[in-house]
């Protein structure tokens, strides 16, 4: 748009009038009080950018940007199409459309009614922040109200179970009481989602144990539920140890309310406790003691009792499993005789973990030993193997074997398929022959049994006792075998977590052990070579819960005190009478 902006007539030059004018070539003609407006009108009533004039398809369009309209031919307008002869009153100035020529050039005449060009023009602008109308109070109120509405009012509406609760909690960007969460829920509790009231019951009240027990009803106590020691737990809450909304998120928090609060000085609580104090695995933990199985004879039976060894393996504990076994022989570096030639054995050939990988599965004769240790009483006849584990079955097997041998000898042509038919045959054997057969069978069976039990097979691994004054099969007893499987029943050890280590790095010199009485369990020093106390930096920081559990099996379920009524009922939190 080309505009000739005339501000006055100067006179005539060569018969044509001469004007004070500026020729502009702009897309839009800007009008206002501001210094950056093409037509600047110094009038305080006008906006900085008050109006624009633009040419579209040959027509002049006036657009008023400010609230105050512009008078076109003395009629206030906010939008207008300007024609030749229109007079615009803008503030104290008048703008006349003198001509819109054929070639599109627009001729405007500007009359600034007051020609007051003085230094007062810039003086109108604000020169201090206060003059711009900036105030602290409105901003303060807006911030305070904004904070209160977003972080107090909306969360309270969610908390009060208003109809808005669901929509507030589900809205991703809408503030709800989730805004009050100091930290995230533990991954195990993520399914609770944003439902604060699932755990938080009474307002301004602490989370009750009932909330936990609702979902975890079988949680066991630390001490037997009926024992007086339960009084020690009075006032304790689930949330004391299971701290939620904390970072980093941990299911069990080992803060000051931890195990050490009691186990640091147990004698103070119970002078007769057999337990030793523990404060820290690295610096204040008793040496290990083991739960060893000990056989004890009660009449003709063996009863296995658990005996705790003294702490620290001194004197060196011995296991009495009634098994004869030498690790050294089996772990011979040149290999050991087997049906397929000499074979080098590794620990894992016999010691395998259970399905969980955490603990060791028991070693079974049939699975681990029988390939080499055959139970044949005739080394050349594989059908002569006797069953393992029950002497009576073994004797029966022997008797059956020798009876068959006898029968095969006196009736050489007899085939196993021959059957006696009722009345078909009279007598195969006379009574005398029967007696002789029984005598022979028994004699041979006893001979074979003696060979197996006392000389060759059973005795290699088992302790066989000959009972005085008895004859026949009753004269032998093979002592019960039981290998300790749970050496430290109160500690949880995970073999899977230690899989990257060599067996002998913890079970030191296990391959050198000559006797099954050797206890090959590692002592605390062995563990401490990698595990340190809970604040250790040089070694793996290990707190109590790495090996021990608070909730012990068989102690009885934790109940919430609120579920009980009456003073006589012993509850978890209330004291013991």
């Amino acid at each position: 748009m080309r505009v000739v902006l005339r501000t006055g007539r100067v006179g005539r030059v060569a018969g044509r009038p001469r004007y004070r004018q500026a020729v502009l070539n702009v897309a839009t003609l800007t009008i206002g009080r501001g210094a950056d407006q093409l037509i600047q009108i110094p009038d305080a009533r006008l906006a900085i950018a008050h109006a624009t004039i633009a040419q579209r398809y040959g027509r002049l369009h006036l657009r008023v940007l400010a609230d105050e309209p512009v008078a076109v031919n003395e009629r206030p307008q906010t939008r207008a199409v300007l024609r030749r002869g229109h007079v615009l009153s803008i503030g104290h100035a008048r703008l006349t459309v003198e001509d819109i020529r054929q070639d599109g050039v627009v001729v405007l005449r500007l009359d600034l009614q007051s020609d007051d060009v003085s230094a007062e023009t810039p003086a109108a602008a604000a020169k201090t922040l206060l003059e711009t109308g900036l105030r602290a109070a409105p901003a303060s109120w807006m911030l305070v109200l904004g904070v209160l509405v977003l972080t107090l009012l909306l969360p309270l509406l969610t908390s009060w179970n208003t109809p808005l609760r669901a929509s507030l909690r589900d809205g991703a960007l809408v503030p709800s009481d989730a805004l009050w969460q100091p930290g995230p829920l533990h991954a195990a509790h993520q399914s609770i989602g944003g439902n604060c009231n699932a755990c938080h019951g009474a307002v301004f009240g602490r989370v009750a144990d009932r909330a936990c027990i609702t979902c975890h009803p079988a949680t066991q106590h630390h001490v037997p539920i009926e024992s007086p020691a339960r009084a020690r737990f009075a006032g304790m809450r689930c949330a004391d140890c299971h701290v939620e909304h904390a970072k980093p998120s941990r299911l069990v928090d080992t803060g000051s309310r931890s195990c050490v609060a009691c186990h640091g000085d147990l004698r103070k609580l119970d002078p007769n406790t057999p337990l030793q104090n523990a404060t820290d695995f690295g610096s204040g933990h008793p040496d290990f003691s083991l739960a060893l199985l000990e056989p004890e004879r009660v009449g003709s039976d063996t009863v296995w009792r658990t005996r705790m060894t003294p702490s620290g393996f001194r004197p060196r504990p011995e296991e009495h499993s009634n098994l004869k076994f030498s690790h050294q022989v089996h772990m011979d570096e040149h290999g050991i005789k087997s049906p397929t030639g000499d074979q080098k054995l590794a620990c894992a050939d016999c010691h395998q973990t259970d399905a969980s990988g955490r603990s060791m599965a028991p070693i079974r004769m049939e699975q681990h030993c029988s390939r080499c240790h055959s139970l044949q009483f005739d080394e050349n006849d594989s059908s002569t193997a006797v069953p393992h584990g029950d002497l009576k079955l073994m004797f029966t097997a022997l008797e059956e074997h020798f009876s068959r041998m006898f029968l095969q000898q006196i009736t050489p042509g007899a085939r196993p398929s021959d059957r006696r038919r009722p009345g078909g045959e009279q007598t195969v054997m006379t009574r005398d022959e029967q007696r002789r057969a029984l005598e022979w069978t028994t004699r041979e069976s006893l001979q074979a049994a003696r060979e197996l039990l006392e000389k060759r097979v059973c005795v290699e691994c088992h302790t066989v006792t000959r009972l005085p004054g008895l004859t026949g099969f009753e004269q032998w007893r093979v002592e019960d075998v039981k290998v300790t499987s749970s050496w430290m029943p109160r500690a949880q050890f995970n073999h899977a977590a230690h899989r990257s280590s060599d067996c002998v790095s913890c079970h030191a010199r296990a391959d050198q052990s000559r006797s099954s009485s050797d206890v090959l369990m590692p002592d605390i020093k062995q563990c401490r070579s990698c595990h340190g106390g809970s604040h250790e930096r040089a070694r793996l920081a290990s707190d109590c819960t790495m090996c021990h559990r608070l909730h012990l099996p068989g102690r009885g379920e934790i109940v919430d005190p609120a579920e009980h009524a009456g003073p006589a009922v012993i509850t978890f939190m209330a004291g013991v009478p």
Binding site: R2, T7, V10, R20, A22, V23, L24, N25, A35, D36, L38, Q40, V117, S118, A119, E120, T121, P122, A123, A125, A126, K127, T128, L129, L130, T132, L134, A136, A139, S140, W141, M142, L143, V144, V147, L148, T151, L152, P155, S159, D177, L179, W180, Q181, P182, G183, C196, H200, V203, F204, G205, R206, V243, A246, K247, D253, T254, G255, S256, H535
Partner: protein, 295 residues
């Protein structure tokens, strides 16, 4: 040595705040040996209580400052306390948080506290730095005097240009009208010379253009061009005068703009500090309420 609010009574309040901060830090370090650092432990509640008390004390400065009975010396001491304890409260609040932050009202309160203290630090900087700057920019001359000189320069320019061509008169008038000083908050703080000038081609056909007249540069260039195209010695003399006046005006204008900018900066931090501190107080109240609401 001049006693400012910072070194009053030999940094006594810096010492107090430092001791409080050190005591809190030591307790935190000792406690974190056995306790997970958090706001809900015994130490956490203690630190939270101290921080809340500090916040209330700091907020009360606004009331005491306005107190009719306040003596100048006492106000200075209160300001000193306000500044040092304000820095200290960030430390105490950080220890109270146990460095557990998240998208929640608790971190909002902490974040607002930090911005309040940061804006306060800007205020301290402003009070130390800007008075010297103002003195350097303005000298002993007051703003009113500078404005008077500006008006004088404009009046002189108009008077001198009266005897010149119409184009020059229009040019001078336009330059005066389009001279900008102050304005919106942003314009004041930015301190840029936004003056404009509508340049009309000299004695030749062509389009007029609206250009920046920063430092009256466009005007001076245009006047110089008029001078080279004029043979009239009287006109040349007047143009020379106009050039001198425009140069002087540019200097005065620049000093005024710097003065407005620095004065603005010196006050503006308070427009952040006060509203943010009230917002922080609201967030702090919600923080305390919500923590006990869902325990």
């Amino acid at each position: 040595m001049h006693q400012s609010f910072l070194n009053i009574q030999r940094y006594r309040y810096a010492l107090y705040a430092g001791l409080l901060g050190a005591a809190c830090t030591v307790s935190y370090v000792v406690d974190s040996w056995h306790e997970r650092p958090a706001g809900d432990t015994v130490l956490g509640y203690t630190l939270g209580g101290i921080a809340a008390a500090l916040v209330l004390f700091l907020m009360s400065y606004g009331i005491r400052r306005r107190s009719f009975h306040a003596r100048a010396g006492a106000t200075k001491r209160w300001l000193s306390m306000h500044v040092y304890l304000g820095v200290c409260v960030v430390l105490v609040a950080t220890l109270h948080s146990g460095l557990q932050f998240g998208w929640n009202v608790h971190t909002l309160a902490y974040g607002l506290l930090c911005t309040v203290v940061l804006s306060g630090c800007w205020g301290v900087y402003a009070y130390i730095r800007y008075p010297t700057l103002i003195a350097r920019e303005r000298g002993a001359v007051s703003r009113e005097e500078l404005l008077r000189r500006l008006a004088e320069a404009d009046a002189q320019a108009l008077a001198v240009s009266a005897g010149l061509d119409l184009e020059v008169r229009d040019l001078i008038a336009d330059a005066i009208r389009r001279t900008r000083l102050g304005g919106t908050v942003w314009a004041q703080l930015r301190g840029r010379d936004e003056s404009m000038l509508l340049l009309v081609p000299i004695r030749a056909p062509g389009y007029s253009q609206l250009v920046s007249n920063r430092g009256q540069q466009a005007l001076i260039a245009q006047l110089a061009q008029y001078q080279t195209t004029t043979w009239d010695t009287r006109a040349q003399h007047r143009l020379h005068q106009l050039l001198q006046i425009s140069g002087d005006k540019a200097v005065v204008l620049r000093r005024l703009q710097r003065d407005i900018q620095i004065q603005g900066l010196m006050q503006f931090w308070l427009y952040l500090h006060v509203p943010l501190s009230f917002g922080m107080l609201a967030a702090l109240a919600v923080h305390i309420l919500s923590v006990f609401y869902y325990r």
